[in-house]
Amino acid sequence: MIRTFRAELDRLTGRKVVLAAAVIVLVFGIGGASVVLASAKPARDASGGLTPTIERLSGSGGGTEVFRFAAAFAGTLVFVVFVGLFAMEFSRGTYRTMLLRQPLRVRLLAGKIAALLCVAAVVLAATEVVMWLSARVQASGAGVATTDWVSLAGLGSAVSDYGMVMLWVTGYAVLGMTVAVLLRSVPLALAAGIAWAGPIEHLIGDAWPTASKVFPGLLLEIVGEGGTPAVSAARAALTVAAYLAVAAAITGTVFVRRDVTS
């Protein structure tokens, strides 16, 4: 697993990838903060859990709550990225190349996802910092007070928000890997992933309120939002963890048992 982890990390830390990641961090960090602050409303006008309120953002954790809100909007995008990263290896035949060097397949997948999550952790940390700085600069324009942001409580919120988003990204990574390994094709995996995480779950969710307690994508959104009145973040995180354990077991079993013919 260590060998795969190092190899994958080598691939993900090339100059071009790092530059691209830096650009994404800056654009998402600055743009995300702008979007969240612009959509912030007074609590009396807010309609639901996904709407940031000026009162919440003015609290000690407001600086990094911006980050959590912005991340929650990018759910489908993150899922698609992970589906693509795993499915692409099938299309290119690079799993075959990798398995000739690392025939222990579970270790190969584990090393690969560990490296991806490691890079994601760094990118998220950088995004959180950029977004906090950007939000602090823009906050006064949106009527959000930032005096409590620089405090111990603010730091605690930053760590907890980071953990929530990281858990959320890990969930999308594992589910993305599962879809990719099961379908083994970029277009098929992307189509299935986007359809499920996008319209299908949300349409069913609109018609059937219990869906938010059951469907993995909706649960992950709740984790990203830090909980809703109907489902707490802890319960959503636990249910998601159970889903991920099952998904990882299915992925490992299928990847080990299937022939690699392309």
């Binding site: 060998r3 691939r11 290119r92 035949g93 075959r96 398995l99 690392q102 222990l104 048992r257």
Partner: protein, 323 residues
């Protein structure tokens, strides 16, 4: 109808287990009702350059994929470098392979691709310049893989296979898609690699490329082994002929009578007679025919032994199988 007799395995009786780098026994792969590899039994001696011949879809790649742990056999057993093929992790660090063309990351350079593979296989980075030099890509190491021509990609694939300085090299159709010059380059490269005291298993459906480099051959057809043995035995199996051309074309009939008197069957090909060699030394036979012709006053302007090509024998073998 198929020949019921088992495939020939010359010298099998003197080949001990430790002499075999690859040993497979009754290896079978089925996809649903379709049998792709059918009870294949093969031994590859250490140090051999073995050619794996068969038409497209004969089961060559599937067999190689089973040896490399990519495809699970339906039944049968096998060992590679003394380890069971059910545990490829025990031997793959000593095996280099290029299967179904090189599959690498297009956005990375050749050196970056090799570095990733070296990490993955636990090999040293120090081998990278060495293997790039061996395949003639030293000056293109910083080019992205996506910009490589097909021939360069194949060579980089071989460089990747050589990273771990393997005891056994498995190359599946390494000349696929190459132009004639590229094929000659690849053949020379394989010959150079083989000269480094490795065992090489090389598959192809282009027989002329195997003829010059392989000292051991396996022929499969529809997943079944139809020949296994030394390549010179395969080539000299049947089909060697002596060709005689008299100086005077008018002597052709008289010469045919002389050949027939010697107890040989004779045929005609233009202004030459063709005498098949059933057994014995063809050169000795040519010499005796020359003497017999001279004895009756026929001067030969042409006299030579025509040996069958690998391709001719292969086609004859397949025709025999089909019959």
């Amino acid at each position: 109808m198929r020949d019921a007799s088992p495939p020939r395995l010359p010298d099998a009786q003197v080949m001990t287990r430790t002499d075999s780098v690859v040993s497979i026994n009754q290896l079978t792969k089925r996809y649903g009702g379709r049998v792709v590899v059918d009870q294949l039994t093969v031994e590859i001696p250490r140090g051999a350059v073995a050619g794996f011949i068969g038409p497209n879809g004969a089961g060559k790649t599937t067999t190689m994929a089973m040896l490399l742990g990519l495809v699970r056999p339906t039944s049968g057993e096998g060992t590679v470098l003394g380890e069971s093929i059910h545990h490829p992790e025990r031997y793959l660090d000593r095996v280099g392979a290029l299967l179904e063309g090189p599959a690498l990351w297009p956005s990375l350079t050749a050196v970056e691709n090799l570095r990733v593979l070296a990490r993955l296989g636990g090999h040293s980075d120090r081998r990278i310049p060495e293997v790039l030099d061996l395949v003639g890509l030293s000056d293109r190491g910083t080019d992205r893989f996506a910009r490589y021509s097909l021939g360069m990609k194949q060579r980089l694939g071989i460089a990747a296979a050589l990273l771990g300085d393997p005891e056994l090299l498995i190359l599946d159709e390494p000349t696929n898609g190459l132009d004639p010059a590229g094929m000659i380059d690849m053949r020379d490269l394989v010959a150079r690699i083989a000269a480094e005291d490795r065992t090489v298993l090389l598959s192809s459906h282009i027989l002329s490329e195997l003829e010059h480099v392989c000292d051991w051959l396996f022929v499969i057809e529809q997943g079944r082994l139809v020949f296994a043995g030394r390549s010179d035995e395969f080539v000299s199996q049947t089909g060697t002929e002596v060709l005689l051309g008299p100086l005077q074309t008018s002597d052709l009939l008289a010469l045919a009578a002389v050949v027939a008197d010697q107890g040989f069957t004779v045929g005609r090909e233009g202004d030459q007679l063709v005498v098949p060699v059933d057994d014995g030394d063809p050169r000795q036979m040519a010499a005796s025919l020359n003497s017999a012709a001279a004895a009756v006053g026929i001067v030969l302007a042409e006299l030579h032994v025509r040996r069958p090509t690998l391709e001719a024998n292969y086609l004859r073998l397949l025709e025999g199988e089909a019959a």
